[in-house]
Subunit: 278 residues, 2 copies
DNA sequence: TTGAAAAAGTTGGAAAATCAACACAAAACT
DNA sequence: AGTTTTGTGTTGATTTTCCAACTTTTTCAA
């Protein structure tokens, strides 16, 4: 399989140094968060690689469901905009969505769940909405993409939105009001996202988002981290917490065995999609 | 120049009928609100026109700043859904939007404004975002459609979302948390919607929405009711308040003279769109 | 009716992207 | 060390898009 990444070539040219596949794809994703469209030729020039390499990157990211491939480039995926997931057969579930599916399985009937902001975490929404339960559940989130993704919940199931300052880029609210509001509740389970995860813990680029994540973790019995495979071995300045504070990690691919065994030793559960069982 | 549009050809074929330039471009914009990227070839086929025509459309829309032109097609502008209203000629503002435009004029630099939920009230959003002010403004709303409509506010301008139970039909939050949160603030001005308005007052179909409207009115110096002409002489079970509690009414047509004079006697201002002044 | 202006269609060569196949280098594995 | 896997570059035939200039059709108004 294509699990093990190649380390960056690190060939130092005059000024720029070549990036590995992983980092390159990560940068492409970042670029797409800012601009809604990228072009093959432009990326090839920026990263100083052949256009075919970029095309392969784009095709890979696309089949993981992370971006939309277009002629001449790729475009960002609109957040919370997959209304049809519920009906599709499980076998057809593509990469990115798998994380949401695995996560939704962790919510039990009658649970109270806190759900963080971010495109990865928002994948859980349509699958939560598709479940039928005996006891009503309650969802608490600071992210509009999440509530938007829950097509139709039963009437007796509650979706609570946090207050706060609205952030257009993340489609979420942040700030003191958000934290305070969260502290009024107690949840069984929390689903958290991150910009990057490494052996030292997981981190995020947005300081205000980090505060919300911490608040959710404090007020929940269990904390599950939802990250796709491109986030592995990425570190950002704002550290959220060490891995030990997590109940488990939900991801779309089996990580490197070394990392997996570290998790096992620390008593952290790992939910990774496996082709054979689905 | 390219200001005056040609009317649609309206040549009726077997099934499809050709669209005029204006409508075609309108459709392209709509398409881009759903999908982040469109392709020249696809559009040409769908509208049954030459690719060159589509290219001209795309170039035009792009130079108006409405879309981003890309190789082979075009992509949606980052997030913002309708940042264009500011540039469009005033005469092109269609019925529903007029209410929003009139309302946005009432917000002064440095104001704190509360904004209710509902499609009519949400019309104010793009026009608020288009204004440039000397002092930062603060907006407080329980409706996602409102914040979503504010394409790009300056960074120093705050948009505060209320907490509460999310209601999918209204794209808004309601409940005790919402009320409590609103009570913590004091605003200069509030914009309220209603399902119906009559001489006796204005009313709404949703009891939980009514509670929020009352809370906003309590905490604001001024209250403006935003209603389109179809709401006149309509009464619903849940009465919100008598007309006397309003500062004014904003609507898209001159109401009957009899009603207008009643408002005048009661000291309620009336802002109704008049073709001649715009 | 006639004529100017706007919109849409047509054409051909240049530029760019796609796709498939193959070659090569660097890692990773045994 | 030697083999396999993985990532990347290269090439060339094919398709698609772009651009500019020109023609045709439609619209509108004098």
């Amino acid at each position: 399989m294509a699990l093990v990444g190649t380390k960056p070539a690190l060939i130092e040219g005059d000024v720029a140094l070549r990036l590995g596949k992983k980092e390159r794809q990560q940068r492409i994703l970042q670029e797409l968060q800012v601009h809604p469209h990228v072009r093959v030729a432009t990326l090839a020039e920026r990263f100083d690689v052949a256009t075919e390499t970029i095309r392969r990157d784009l095709d890979a990211l696309s089949s993981d469901g992370l971006i939309n491939r277009e002629f001449g480039g790729a475009s960002a995926r609109p957040m919370g905009h997959q209304p049809d997931l519920a009906q599709r057969q499980l076998s057809a579930v593509a990469g990115f969505e798998r994380i949401g599916m695995l996560a939704a399985d962790m919510v039990r009937s009658g649970d109270v769940a806190m759900i963080d902001a971010g495109s990865t975490v928002a994948q859980i929404a349509p699958f939560l909405a598709a479940r039928t339960t005996k006891l009503p559940r309650t969802f608490l989130t600071n992210c509009y993409a999440v509530v938007h993704g829950m097509a139709e919940l039963a009437d007796h199931e509650d979706v609570l939105m946090c207050p706060g300052q609205f952030n257009r880029r993340e489609n979420a609210v942040y700030g003191n009001d958000t934290i305070e509001y969260l502290r009024r509740f107690h949840a069984n389970i929390a689903f958290i996202g991150a910009s990057g995860i490494s052996r030292q813990g997981f981190s995020d680029v947005n300081r205000r988002a980090v505060a919300v994540k911490r608040a959710m973790m404090e007020r929940s019995d269990e904390t599950w981290l939802m990250v796709d495979h491109t986030k592995f071995d990425q570190r950002y300045l704002e550290n959220v917490a060490p891995l030990e504070e997590l109940t488990g990690i939900i991801t779309d691919r089996q990580p490197e065995p070394e990392f997996a065994s570290q998790l096992e030793r620390a008593g952290i559960r790992l939910l990774a999609w496996r082709e054979d069982t689905h």
